[in-house]
């Protein structure tokens, strides 16, 4: 089961869960993913120990997609 989570004030919120065979789940996940990107979130996927990658389309085969806010120099 893959998950789309957004880091927020609650710790994190799971926005969607899907499997490759679940067309409705995939559709909902893609819609939620697009909506969060429109809100200014960036989507990140771990690509191995110490590695991460920003993605602009929902990677359906990823176990976990994390939405983060932009960072800036303090």
């Amino acid at each position: 089961m893959s998950r789309l989570v957004r880091m927020d004030c609650s710790g994190h919120t799971t926005l969607a869960e899907w499997t490759a065979e679940d067309a409705a789940g995939v559709e909902a996940a893609v819609a939620a993913f697009g909506a969060e990107l429109d809100r200014g979130y960036f989507a990140m996927v771990s690509t191995g120990p110490g590695h991460a990658e920003q993605v602009k389309e929902l990677p359906l085969d990823a176990d976990l997609v994390i939405l983060r806010l932009p960072i800036s120099g303090g």
Partner: protein, 215 residues
């Protein structure tokens, strides 16, 4: 180890187009300039202290005050560097627990334990070894002898601490040099100077980062 995939730079770098992209050479240069600037600040005080003592030994108290200034200035800069790792306000206990669970999924067991003890995540990168906190990160380089303290944060103060660290960690892992470009340099200098200014609970993480950087 953080990647260096410049084909997908950190999007936040677009907000600082006037900054050249950070790399090891530029960081070394900035570190050298920082040291030069510090020397330029303290040498006049030392010179004045020596000169005053030679000219008028009875003014030793003034000479000592000048020497104290020479000691204090680098210490204040180091304190500014240590501030980047200072913990921020805590969210509710449930949110903190949830956020720590997600952060725990991103790091290995040893790093998780160290974060629990120190509040910092140690992350090996290409530029050196990073200490990632809630509102900043410290790059340990030159085989553990040098530190660059960066102030960088996520703009949502309501996030729990684990999420703030996870934001920085994910950005760092995606584009280490872009991360160092976006962040503001707060201090660059010797590791021991920073260690003296860190809360005791955080010092083991700095020691671990220095040890890892020597490997």
């Amino acid at each position: 180890m953080a990647t260096a995939d410049v084909s997908c730079p950190l999007p936040e770098t677009a907000a600082v187009p006037w900054r050249p992209r950070a790399d090891a050479r530029r960081l070394r240069r900035r570190g050298a300039l920082w040291t030069l600037s510090t020397v330029a600040h303290i040498v006049p005080f030392i010179g004045a202290a020596v000169l005053l003592f030679v000219v008028q030994p009875l003014a030793v108290a003034v000479s000592l005050a000048a020497l104290a200034h020479a000691w204090l200035i680098p210490s204040l800069y180091a304190a500014r560097g240590a501030n980047v790792l200072r913990p921020a306000r805590r969210a509710g206990a449930a949110a903190e627990r949830t956020a720590l669970g997600l952060l725990g999924d991103l790091v290995d067991h040893e790093t998780r334990d160290r974060h629990a003890a120190t509040g910092l995540v140690v992350e090996r990168g290409r530029l050196g070894t990073w200490l990632v906190g809630e509102a900043g990160a410290v790059l340990v380089s030159r085989r553990g002898r040098r530190v660059h303290c960066f102030c960088v944060r996520v703009a949502d103060a309501s996030l729990p601490s684990g999420d703030r660290v996870a934001h920085l960690l994910l950005a760092l892992r995606a584009d280490e040099e872009g991360f160092a470009t976006v962040a503001n340099l707060a201090f660059s200098g010797a590791r021991w100077r920073l260690a003296r200014r860190l809360p005791p609970a955080m010092r083991p993480a700095l020691t671990a980062a220095a040890r890892l950087d020597r490997v």
